[in-house]
C-alpha cells in the first residue's frame, strides 16, 4: 500500500458555475474520485409552477446565461407540444438562426476564452491580449458576430426576449438581415484561422467508450432543433418517452442530478452529435474535421474541443443559409393558434451547445404550468466526467499533486460543463 494523498481543486476555474474536484489516492489506488457540484439550487421546476405558459420561455431562459437561447427554444417547444401548435417553416428558420448564434457564441467562448489559455500555458485570456493579440481579436470578432445574431433575432443573447408559443415577438427586416449577412461572410476567414490554430495543438489521450446520445432531426439536418433521441447502442426514442432512456438519480456530492442511460454513463454534446451525425455536416464543417483529425469513433473526451470547432463552422454555415432564406422571403409569418387550448403535456427536446436538453411541462386548462421537469446536458455528462477522471488517473498518479490537479481540471473543462444549468 502506498502513500495516501488528496488532490482537491476547490471551484474549478474557467467553467460555468461552481464545481470541486476531490480525489483521494492511496499509492496508485483510487479511493475517491468525485466532481462535487456545489452550485446553488434555485428550484426552477418549482418556479415555473402556477405561472402562465407565456412566461415559461422567459423564466426558464434564466436557468443559464450562456444557454439562455437553448432554454427558451426547448421551453417554447414544450409549450407548443402541449398546446398542439406546429410552428411554420419561417418561424422555424428564425429560431434555428438564433440557435446557430448561440452555438457559435457558446463554442467560441469555450474554445477561445476557457480552453485556449491551457494550450498557451496561460492562466486566462488576459495575458494573451499582449502575447497573441491576433488570436484574441479573432475570438472577440467571432463572439461579437454570435452576439449580434442573437440580438437581431431576440433582442439580446443573454435572456432572449421574443419567444412565444406559435409566434416570435420580433421579426428582423431585410436591412438587419443584410447587415448580418455581411458580417457572416466576413467571419469565414476568422473561423478558418481558428481551425488552423487548433489543428496545431495536441491534447492528452484518454480513451473510454460509453453510450452517446443526440436528438436527430427528421429530414437530415445536423441535429439542433430536436427530434427522436438516438443512441450509439442503436435505440431510437420519441421525445415524450425520454424517461425510457434518461434516468435521473441523486448522488450525495452533487446538487445536480446525475443521469444514467441505457447501460450506464452517457455522453451528450458536440462529440456525441459528431459521432452520430457527422455525415449530415456541411462540406465546410467536414473539411474542418479533417484538418483537426477528428475521428467519428473518437472515445477521447478532449476531442470535445475539436468537435465544438467543427460545429462552430457548421453553425456559421447554418446562420448564412438561414439568413439567405429569410432574405429571399422576409415577410413575417402569421402566428399559429393552439389546437389544444385546454393544454396537456408537452416535451421540448432540442440540441443545445452542450447536448440534449429536455423541458417537459404539463399545462392546465387555466393556461398555467401544473408541473415541469428539465433535464440538462451537463447533468447527463457528469457521471461520464467522473468515469473519465478515473480512466485518466492511472497515467497521472506518478506526478506531483499540482500536475494531477491541473490535468483533471483540463479534462473537466474539455466537457464545457455548465454547472448553473445542471443544478437549475
Amino acid at each position: 500500500m502506498g502513500e495516501s494523498r488528496a488532490v482537491v481543486v476547490r471551484h474549478v476555474t474557467r467553467i460555468e458555475g461552481h464545481g470541486n474536484i476531490v480525489v483521494d489516492l492511496e499509492g496508485t489506488e483510487i479511493k475517491r474520485c468525485d466532481l462535487e457540484i456545489v452550485e446553488s439550487p434555485r428550484f426552477f421546476e418549482v418556479l415555473l409552477k402556477d405561472r402562465p405558459y407565456d412566461e415559461a420561455p422567459r423564466i426558464s431562459c434564466r436557468i443559464c446565461g450562456i444557454c439562455s437561447v437553448g432554454h427558451a427554444t426547448a421551453s417554447v417547444a414544450a409549450v407548443e407540444a402541449a398546446l398542439g401548435i406546429v410552428p411554420g417553416p419561417k418561424l422555424r428558420r428564425l429560431r434555428r438562426l438564433n440557435m446557430a448564434g448561440e452555438w457559435l457564441q457558446s463554442h467560441i467562448l469555450h474554445v477561445c476564452f476557457l480552453v485556449a489559455p491551457d494550450a498557451f500555458g496561460a492562466a486566462s485570456i488576459v495575458p494573451l491580449v499582449g502575447s497573441h493579440p491576433d488570436v484574441v481579436k479573432r475570438a472577440l470578432r467571432l463572439k461579437r458576430l454570435a452576439n449580434d445574431i442573437c440580438c437581431t433575432v431576440s433582442g439580446r443573447h443573454v435572456m432572449p426576449i421574443s419567444y412565444h408559443a406559435g409566434w416570435m415577438g420580433y421579426w428582423p427586416g431585410p436591412v438587419e438581415l443584410r447587415a448580418l449577412e455581411e458580417q457572416l461572410v466576413g467571419a469565414a476567414e476568422d473561423l478558418d484561422a481558428l481551425v488552423g490554430l487548433f489543428a496545431g495543438f495536441t491534447w492528452p489521450a484518454v480513451e473510454r467508450r460509453t453510450e452517446l446520445l443526440a436528438a436527430l432531426e427528421e429530414g437530415g439536418a445536423y441535429p439542433m432543433m430536436g427530434g427522436p433521441l438516438h443512441s450509439s447502442l442503436g435505440g431510437v426514442t420519441a421525445p415524450e418517452a425520454y424517461r425510457d432512456v434518461l434516468h435521473e438519480y441523486l448522488v450525495d456530492h452533487s446538487a445536480s442530478k446525475h443521469v444514467r442511460g441505457t447501460e450506464g454513463t452517457v455522453r451528450v454534446g458536440a462529440l456525441a452529435r459528431y459521432a452520430l451525425a457527422h455525415e449530415r455536416l456541411h462540406p465546410r464543417a467536414k473539411e474542418a474535421a479533417a484538418r483537426l483529425k477528428l475521428r467519428p469513433d473518437s472515445a477521447n473526451p478532449f476531442d470535445y474541443v475539436a468537435a465544438q470547432l467543427v460545429e462552430s463552422v457548421q453553425a456559421h454555415q447554418e446562420a448564412l443559409d438561414q439568413v439567405a432564406a429569410l432574405l429571399a422571403d422576409p415577410a413575417p409569418e402569421e402566428p399559429v393558434r393552439p389546437s389544444r387550448p385546454h393544454g396537456g403535456r408537452g416535451v421540448g427536446m432540442v440540441e443545445v451547445p452542450r447536448g440534449t436538453l429536455v423541458h417537459d411541462y404539463v399545462i392546465g386548462a387555466d393556461g398555467r404550468i401544473a408541473s415541469a421537469n428539465c433535464i440538462i446536458p451537463t447533468s447527463q455528462n457528469l457521471a461520464s466526467i467522473e468515469g473519465d477522471m478515473r480512466a485518466f488517473l492511472p497515467s497521472l498518479v506518478s506526478k506531483p499533486s499540482a500536475e494531477v490537479a491541473h490535468a483533471l481540471e483540463m479534462l473537466v473543462r474539455a466537457y464545457d460543463p455548465c454547472v448553473s444549468c445542471s443544478v437549475h
Binding site: 471551484h11 476555474t13 474557467r14 467553467i15 460555468e16 458555475g17 461552481h18 462535487e36 457540484i37 456545489v38 446553488s40 439550487p41 434555485r42 428550484f43 421546476e45 418549482v46 418556479l47 402562465p52 412566461e55 422567459r58 423564466i59 434564466r62 436557468i63 443559464c64 446565461g65 450562456i66 439562455s68 467562448l109 476564452f113 476557457l114 489559455p117 492562466a123 486566462s124 485570456i125 488576459v126 491580449v129 484574441v136 472577440l140 470578432r141 463572439k143 461579437r144 452576439n147 431576440s154 433582442g155 439580446r156 443573447h157 443573454v158 435572456m159 426576449i161 421574443s162 412565444h164 416570435m168 415577438g169 420580433y170 441523486l250 450525495d252 456530492h253 452533487s254 446538487a255 448553473s420
Partner: protein, 260 residues
Amino acid sequence: MTRPRVAFFSFGSCEGCQLQVLSVEDVLPDLLAAVEIVNFREAVDDRRDDYDIAFVEGSLVKPEDVAELQKIRAHAQILVAIGACACLGGVNAIRNRRPVTELARDVYEGRQDGVFAALPDASPLSSVVQVNYEIRGCPIDRFEFLEAVRSLLAGTVPYTPPYAVCVECTLRGTPCLLERGVPCLGSVARAGCNAPCPAYGAPCEACRGCHDTPNFEALGEAFFRHGLTRSQAGEKLQLFNNYREVRDAWEKAVPSSSAT
C-alpha cells in the same frame, strides 16, 4: 496611478451578468488594461483576496452564502451588486412563497442535507451586507456596466435613471403594450435598459425593480381599464420583485382583498 484591483463573485445565479461583462467585445482589451482582475472564476485562474472593487452576482440561497458574502464585504472597499438576483432577489425569490420542504420534496426527493441545503428565502445582497452600488437588470446591460466602471474609475457615483421604462419606450417609438391589453409593468419599472422587451414583443416585467415614485394604485387602475386584472400586475411583479420592499409596497397599495 495603480490600476484598481477588481474581483467578480457569484452566488445563486445563472452567471449571465458575468457573461454580459465578457460581451463588451469591442472594448474588452481596453477594460482589461484599465483594471487588474484578481478574481474571476468563470474566466481566470488567479484567485487573490486583495481586491478594491468586488462585483457580486446572484442572490443568497445557500446557508454558507451569508458568511462568504461577509468575507467579500470585509475585503472590498467598494461592493457592487450586479443583476436582478443580487439587487432584488430576482427570479430566485419566486420560491419564497413556498416552504423549503416543498421545494426539496419536488426537486430532491425531500433531501435538505449537504449540497441540497437551501435558505428559507432567496434574498438580495443588501439583506446581509452594505451594498455600495447596484447595477440592475436581468441581465445587466453591458454598456451600463461599462459606464459604471468608468464612474468608479473617475471616483464618481454610477448613474441610474430615476424614471420609468415608459420613458424609454416612448423615446424609441415602441407602441404601448399595455394599451393593447398586454400586462406590462413599464410605468412602475426603473429605466436604464433602453426598453428592449416591449420592442421585441414581451411586456416589461420590472427586472430592474421599481423607479423612485411608482404609483401602484394607478397601475392597478390601468390594468383594469385595459381588460386585465389587478392581480395580473401583482403576479407580474412577483417575477423579479418578490423580496420584501416591492412586494410589501404593492400589497399595501393594492391589498389582495381588492384584487380582481
